[in-house]
């Protein structure tokens, strides 16, 4: 019963995303096949819901099957026509040579065994997600609640049926609720398993993207190990298979910053610009994920994007003309997403950060450091990851801060330290004391943390930095 609506529900956005990525790549394809579909699904779903949202509020296109299909049809046509016209002029895609497998057989077998063990848990949790009711607070108070209201009313609404006031959760982008509305519309009714299944798909997409990011730089065994480590973290697995939006945000963040790393590592100017354009697209979409996407992470990503572009220009890796065009395209995409959404928030008086304001009387907040330490090191959330992570950062600091890995390291440090400051010195300390906001913040950054850990581990084991980027095409 679930198969057909789910297949259509995921396939259409994936096709939209794939076509968009293909267009953004233009004449230089850089994404591996599975990577492009995984990223395409993420991009396609967020973009499609963005368009569906504005089609509803501006043009009155309802959230019905025909309304959604109209949106998808428009997107597929708008993106499909250029794809058809361009097909013959785009050079065929040749995948670059990937790093050879250098790990001993025993290590590879151990990684496979660990992977199988983790896969069992991931699959069982997915099944549980499909077969049990929504459980956690934010699911029934925000993500699923709004999705269900949109589904029942066939339209976007800021208010809930039982109150004329606009609740705080309405300030969040409607992407996740609308995705559920879309799936429920296809299914013909609101079914918990169907509307919650999308979270698992986002989680699998994240694992694939982490794998492929690492695979460009590491042998297969180590790339697999990174994805396995991420999936094995208890709190990450719970989030990946629950109807919350933090893994959804994290996949956008990870893709945004990982693509900057690839741009830096590319020895071919065309490939570097292609990675940069896709990163710009992901950064734009970050603003339409959660409030933290806009308030906390977008400025950091925009800064890293600018620094990456400047670095490439200084290295003379790309021509100024190519860089300017790429930056203009990325800037244009960012404005195309950001301006309408911010304008909507302004005209409806919606807050820009989370519902809770920050008290600007900075003073030391008692017990926060203890609470953070307990959450990071003395609970079951992250396994033994953090001693490993911080230990590797200290031991392999040259790789962490003097190679392209610095992009990832910087992206971790800035939001982490900003949040720590807020928890240690402002009224937001309750988010750390109750272990709510702090843990969620780590979920957002976890794919980046695991990627850094895996890269530095490889560096330590082989006593050399990651292999240089190889743009040599297979023949």
């Amino acid at each position: 019963m679930m198969i057909l609506p789910l297949t259509i529900g995921f396939l259409l956005p994936a096709c939209v995303g794939w076509l968009l990525l293909d267009l953004v790549e233009w004449k230089v394809h850089v994404l591996e096949r599975e990577e492009k579909w995984a990223l395409g699904f993420v991009v396609g779903m967020t973009l499609s819901m963005f368009v569906a949202f504005f089609a509803n509020v501006l043009l009155g296109v309802p959230f019905t099957a025909s309304g959604f299909l109209m949106v998808f049809a428009a997107l597929l046509i708008a993106l499909g026509i250029p794809w058809v016209l361009r097909r013959k002029s785009v050079p065929p895609y040749f995948a670059p040579l990937l790093p050879a497998e250098t790990m001993p057989r025993g290590v590879r077998i151990a990684v496979m065994a660990l992977g199988a063990w983790v896969a069992v848990r991931v699959l069982l949790f997915c099944l549980t997600l499909l077969l049990v009711p929504s459980f956690f607070d934010d699911t029934t108070d925000n993500w699923n609640l709004r999705g269900k209201i949109f589904y029942l009313q066939k339209s976007f609404t800021l208010q809930f049926p039982w109150s004329p006031n606009i609740p705080g959760v309405s300030s969040y982008p409607p992407t996740v609720p609308l995705a559920k509305t879309w799936l429920a519309t296809l299914a013909g009714s609101w079914q918990e398993g169907i509307v919650n299944s999308i979270h698992f798909i986002w989680f699998i997409a994240l694992l694939l993207l982490v794998y492929w990011t690492l695979r460009r730089m590491l042998p297969m065994s180590f790339a697999l190990l990174g994805a396995i480590i991420l999936a094995s973290l208890p709190l990450e697995l719970i989030h990946g298979t629950s109807a919350y939006a933090d893994v959804f945000l994290s996949v956008h963040l990870f893709a945004s910053v990982a693509l900057l790393v690839h741009a830096l590592r590319s020895e071919d100017a065309g490939r570097a610009m292609s990675f940069l354009r896709i990163s710009g697209l992901m950064i734009a979409l970050v603003t339409f994920t959660k409030n933290e996407g806009w308030a906390l992470y977008f400025p950091v990503l925009a800064l890293l994007f600018a620094i990456t572009a400047l670095w490439l220009w200084r290295k003379k890796a790309v021509s100024p003309r190519a860089l300017i065009i790429t930056a203009l395209i990325a800037g244009g995409v960012i404005l195309a997403i950001v301006v309408p959404w911010i304008a909507f928030k302004l005209t409806n008086g919606l807050p820009f950060g989370n519902a809770k304001g920050i008290d600007l009387n900075f003073r030391w907040q008692k017990n926060v450091l203890l609470s953070v330490t307990v959450n990071t090191f003395f609970e079951g959330n992250w396994g033994l990851l953090f001693p490993l992570f911080f230990g590797l950062l200290a031991l392999r600091w040259k790789t962490a801060f003097r190679t392209s890995v610095v992009t990832l390291t910087t992206f971790f440090l800035i939001p982490y330290l900003v949040q720590m400051f807020a928890y240690l010195f402002t009224g937001l300390s309750t988010e750390a004391l109750l272990q709510t906001g702090y843990a969620r913040g780590l979920i957002h950054l976890m794919p980046v943390i695991v990627t850094i850990t895996t890269l530095l581990m490889y560096d330590l084991v082989t006593c050399r930095p990651t292999p240089p980027s190889s743009d040599i095409n297979r023949t």
């Binding site: 549980t128 459980f135 003395f378 609970e379 959330n381 396994g383």
Partner: protein
């Protein structure tokens, strides 16, 4: 294994006293002819020895009884056996050596009505002094009970190590806070602590992560000594880079930790299958919400689009936001007074709501609705009530 090492190990095992593996307890039995310990009574009626125990009463005012304690072993658990005439909120108090002589530390205890044994894992409290030299009980006015037995229980180092291993493998269950954190392995040092693990929040034991950190430290020290002492000075062969060796050892510990947490996560899935997924409607239990989701599923055919219904829920079961979500498109209201306009009423864990003789919903004896009928009784205190037109 070769014969000689096997003989040596067996000999060692046989020569270690059995007491090394045994729990030790001192038992004060108040049903004997002589009173165990010398007790100083304050404000209580004079306790009397009976064949059923020490009869303690406090007719006019609260009081206490205190005794010196001098045991040959430390105390981790205290078990007190009572027969009480009524539930009593009492206090156990003791003297910590670090405090002055007239200062005592107190622990609130609740003595149930009837015969009961209170097993107190006092070692779980940082303020507990394992070698306390005086201990007492304080009772409120109206106390009437028989104190039958006090046991002071102690486990030796080997038993504690074994309990750490057992408690390491005790799993928590999925709860609403699991989206923010999971406790992970929590270790206890006695069986009572293990039994009570995760029944109180936060759990009283120590994080099991400490074991891994100590192990990593020990491994680091061994590898450092091996590389910088054993290899250069004693001529031992170097088997690899020290950091790589450490990473391999770390990997082994990582796998152990992952097995432990992985099994806990699998237990969550198993619980969901056993109690919810595999059960028929009417018998589904979903995590800490018990039969709440089952109730919503059974109510769904009645709570349709456009229907307004009232929810009356127990104060300690604030399910309103969840009811609102699951009941949509029916609209939930939270009446605080009688209401004649609602077609349905959903009771959740309310033992003060009944249907009176005139078939009206009655809250604390006051009619709140027009006449109707109970559509479905979910459990003794939860039902769906429909107002009949």
């Amino acid at each position: 294994m070769r014969l000689l090492p096997r003989i040596i190990l067996s000999a060692l095992f046989l020569t270690v006293p059995a007491a090394a593996f045994a729990m030790t307890e001192a038992i004060w039995d108040f049903r004997q002819e002589s009173l165990p310990g010398e007790w100083r009574v304050s404000n209580l009626d004079l306790p009397t020895m009976t064949s059923d125990g020490l009869h303690v009463t406090a007719k006019d005012k609260p009081g206490s009884m205190l005794t010196q304690l001098s045991l040959p072993h430390a105390t981790e658990v205290i078990s007190i056996h009572f027969v009480s005439n009524g539930q009593i909120d009492a206090r156990l108090f003791w003297h910590e050596h670090v405090r002055s002589e007239d200062q005592y530390t107190e622990l609130n205890i609740t003595i149930p009505n009837g015969e009961s044994t209170l097993d107190l894992n006092v070692d779980a409290y940082a303020e507990w002094d394992r070698h306390t030299d005086s201990i007492g009980l304080a009772f409120p006015q109206g106390t009437d009970l028989l104190l039958q037995e006090i046991r002071f229980v102690h486990w030796n180092a080997l038993e504690k190590i074994a309990e750490v291993w057992r408690s390491f493998w005790k799993f928590d269950t999925m709860s609403p806070i699991s989206i923010n954190f999971v406790w992970g392995p929590v270790v206890e040092y006695n069986p009572l602590g293990t039994v009570k693990l995760f029944t109180e929040l936060p759990p009283r034991g120590r994080s099991g992560n400490w074991i891994f950190f100590f192990a990593l430290l020990a491994i680091a020290v061994v590898i450092t000594l091996y590389r910088y002492v054993a290899v250069p000075r004693m001529g031992m062969k170097q088997f690899g880079h020290p950091l790589v060796l450490f990473l391999l050892a770390f990997g082994g510990l990582w796998v152990l930790y992952d097995i432990r947490m992985g099994l806990e996560l699998l237990s969550y899935a198993k619980n969901d299958y056993d109690l919810y997924i595999s059960q028929p409607q009417g018998r589904k239990i979903f995590r800490n919400y018990q039969n709440f989701n089952d109730i919503m599923e059974q109510s769904a055919p009645y709570l349709k689009d456009g229907v307004h219904f009232g929810l009356l829920m127990a104060r300690d079961a604030p399910v309103d936001s969840m009811v609102r979500y699951f009941a949509l498109p029916a609209i939930m209201e939270l009446p605080t007074e009688p209401n004649n306009d609602l077609r349905y009423w959903l009771m959740f864990r309310r033992n003060d709501v009944t249907v009176d003789a005139e078939n009206r919903l009655s809250v604390g004896g006051v009619p709140w609705s027009p006449p109707g009928r109970i559509v479905t009784q979910f459990d003794p205190n939860s039902f769906l009530f429909e107002v009949t037109p």
